[in-house]
């Protein structure tokens, strides 16, 4: 069994599957971050979201982030799954899951992973509202 699971998927992501993946008899602390689609952003009601993704480069960057985390923290396993395509409110956009012997490393690596993903991984979010749409971050 490998110690990282990195995917971009066009189907629903499962929190339970993520936990099952990182579960390891050596680990006592497991931290899972789930990014879900919320109904309100920048004071506008969001109806749906379309994730565009440069798959090959995104996966490469996610693997790089995971490898950096294994160097920086004493962690056991890491999972990074990102959704692509059209999603709706309450759907899962991303799951980061990290197991470690102790919770300090699990929390820190999980937080660092989602921050790095949002900064570095080539994925783009287009929000659809009643009256239009907006590519997040793209225009001032």
């Amino acid at each position: 069994m490998t110690n990282k699971s990195i995917y971009i998927k066009n189907e629903s992501l499962s929190v339970d599957a993520a936990y099952q993946y990182i579960l390891d008899e050596r680990s006592g602390g497991n931290c899972i971050f789930v990014g879900s689609i919320r109904d309100l952003n920048m004071k506008k009601t969001v109806r749906s979201i379309d994730f565009d993704c440069y798959d090959a480069m995104a996966l490469k960057e996610m693997h790089k982030i995971a490898d950096e985390l294994f160097s920086a923290y004493e962690i056991t396993r890491i999972l990074m799954h990102h959704r692509k395509g059209l999603v709706k409110i309450k759907d899962i956009a991303v799951i980061i899951a990290v197991s470690a012997i102790h919770r300090d490393a699990a929390f820190a690596a999980c937080r660092t992973a989602i921050d790095a993903l949002k900064k570095r991984v080539p994925i783009w979010k287009k929000e659809f509202y009643q009256d239009g749409h907006y590519w997040i971050n793209s225009t001032p």
């Binding site: 990014g35 994730f51 565009d52 993704c53 440069y54 090959a56 480069m57 995104a58 490469k60 990102h82 956009a93 991303v94 989602i114 993903l117 949002k118 900064k119 570095r120 991984v121 080539p122 994925i123 783009w124 979010k125 287009k126 590519w135 997040i136 971050n137 793209s138 225009t139 001032p140």
Partner: protein, 80 residues
């Protein structure tokens, strides 16, 4: 030389297609490519910024493009 440029996110909307074909002199740089893109589509001037990836790595302006490079327009990312 003709390059095929992948367009992602808002770049795809600006270009109106997932790929953009661009003619550039041999030994053109990423800076040359950006200049040409900006001239062809004024929409790129309205972005906060964008970068160019060459062979799946963010490339700086001085990078020289070669035949067969995988080139993509990378608007500000917003995953997660």
């Amino acid at each position: 030389m003709e390059y095929s440029i992948w367009c992602f996110g808002i770049a795809r909307d600006i270009v109106g297609a997932p790929r953009l074909l661009i003619q550039l002199d041999t030994s053109s740089s990423v800076a040359d490519l950006k200049e040409k893109i900006n001239r062809m589509y004024e929409g790129f001037g309205q972005l906060k910024t964008y970068r160019i990836a060459v062979n799946q790595n963010i490339a700086d302006d001085q990078t020289i493009l070669s035949a067969g490079d995988e080139i993509a327009i990378i608007p500000p990312v917003s995953g997660g």
